[in-house]
Amino acid sequence: MCGIAGIIHRGKSTNVGGEMQKMLQSLKHRGPDSTGYALYGPEGSQNYILRFKVGENVGEGSSSIMEDSSFYDFRKEEVNKKIIEAGGKILKQEQITPYSFRYVISCDDDLLDLAKKIETVEMTEILSLGKSLELIKDLGDAKVVADKYSLNNFMGTHAIGHTRMATESGVDIRSAHPYWAYPFSDVSVVHNGQLTNYWNNRRALERKGMRFISSCDSELIAVYLANKIRDGYGLEDSMQSSLIDLDGVFTYMVATQDKLGMAKDHMAAKPMVLFESDELVLLASEEVAIRSLLPHEIDTYDPYEGEVKVWQA
């Protein structure tokens, strides 16, 4: 059991960081192990925001090891070298925790080469790379993570988030959601459910050169959609075909620079509640998350089996 939530404001920026924190905190009982945010700031910049980590925060059942923080400085310097080597330029750098960083960089739009180079540095994982996406995930509940990464006043148009109860893999950051759809700018995914044809799909995608960082089945959805987008499919078409190709019980949300979408499998076995108005769309595993932002009486409904919906910011 995990909790997922999404929010999209139509045509305006608000404090989506604070809003998502409230929604995810009210879903804490669905997944207390880790929390992740994919927040979309206002468009406009030509530069890229790079969120990455050079070490792990290790919890129960994780195969990763907790390292001495002295390794992190060395790896960070190595990452800096790789960015420059790939033709990029670091405009701003912030160290958020001993192991995680936020950079503003300028680079050309071929993100694959840059991403590949950065991830050659030991234990380094790009969490997100995009013009408006900032993906943050760590162990603890929504409030812990939001406080740690100062997300409570993040201004933006839309966001998705996840509270994880670890079932298929250990408690660590690399198994936490959301997942960035590497190497595509500004695409992120959160998922609640289990995919039963994970290995068949993973092997097929790896043969096509797609990269997997974890053994978490949710990552497959991000990689699957990234591959479809690479093949020229639109977001909605990619999501529609995922309902045929991915087997199991699942509900997932995907966000891009200006869109938010949801898909529900044909068994409709995983929950999703939806509120939609002219200004705002809210989605969550449970209505309590929606009520954390709209406590007054509202009309909500469950999307049906095999349903795909996409909203524009």
Partner: protein, 282 residues
């Protein structure tokens, strides 16, 4: 409570009692002629005119459910819940007469395991509303999530809006009435009782249905394994009219064009054996 007159009851003419289960437990555990079977020994005497209000905003489900019990103990027969905020498991385990009015929406497992109360919910309900309900009446004014009325044994469960997937899953009696559309696997493994869907219904309707009857006013995406269409009779139509009137669903429906779904009984595996006897036979 009036005793049930079996011989001339119209439901016999409608064939609804063909679904009689013949296991030994079914024959001996309940006698509808004995009045004491209709009340729990620890039920409180309540007065429907004695009314009170609870603000749920600062209460969790345990506190609220305990408060309802305390109020029933003090004779309150009408309880209004304000600001339920879609919290989970509110109003569960009420095993007696009570008039419960919910001003707002319930989360998951709302009014579950109830036996007797009349509940009116002005908002929406989440997954598994009224699960295991034995008797009484629940009316939901807006939409409902999945597993609406899972495993109910009796009573009337009404949703005036749309419901999610698997409504009436494992249902063993009672009536579920849906004013709008219903999702996939409605009536999945249903064993008894009736479901009325005024709107459209998703795929696999009545999948692996052992017994019971499903009436659909709109389109059916597909039937599940062993669910078959049956002829709708005049008695069915009379019953449907009466039920929808009681449920306050004023939708214009051409009853003659409704589809009636029953079990094909090809998967039917009921027999006279008790579980222990079955184990011995294996």
């Amino acid at each position: 409570m009036a005793s049930i007159i079996k011989s001339d009851h119209k439901s016999y003419g409608m064939g609804l009692h063909d679904e009689v289960l013949t296991g030994r437990t079914q024959q001996t555990s309940f006698n509808s002629e004995e009045a004491e079977n209709f009340f729990y020994h620890d039920a409180f005497k309540v007065d429907f005119n004695k009314r009170t209000l609870i603000d749920v905003q600062k209460l969790n489900c345990i506190e609220l459910n305990k408060k309802i019990k305390d109020l029933m103990k003090r004779g309150y027969g009408t309880i209004v819940l304000k600001n339920p905020g879609a919290k989970h498991s509110l109003g569960v385990g009420i095993l007696q007469k009570l008039n419960l009015i919910v001003e707002g929406s319930l989360g998951y497992f709302g009014v579950g395991s109830i036996d007797g109360p009349v509940v009116r919910i002005s908002g929406r309900v989440g997954w598994s509303c009224a699960e295991n309900m034995m008797s009484g009446k629940v009316v939901v004014e807006k939409n409902a999530g999945s597993c609406f009325g899972a495993a109910i044994r009796g009573g009337d469960l009404i949703c005036k809006g749309n419901v999610g997937a698997r409504s009436g899953i494992d249902m063993k009696g009672g009536t579920i009435i849906i004013g709008g559309d219903a999702g996939a696997f409605t009536g999945f493994m249903m064993q008894r009782g009736r479901i009325i869907i005024c709107g459209d219904v998703g795929p696999n309707l009545g999948d692996s249905l052992y017994d019971g009857t499903i009436f659909v006013g709109g389109d059916i995406k597909s039937l599940g394994a062993d669910a078959v269409e049956a002829e709708i009779t005049d008695l069915d139509i009379q019953w449907l009219k009466r039920k929808l009137k009681v449920a306050e669903i004023n939708k214009k429906i051409d009853f003659k064009k409704m589809t009636k779904i029953v079990s094909g009984k090809k998967l039917w595996n009921y027999d006279n054996l008790e579980p222990s006897e079955r184990k011995g036979a294996i």
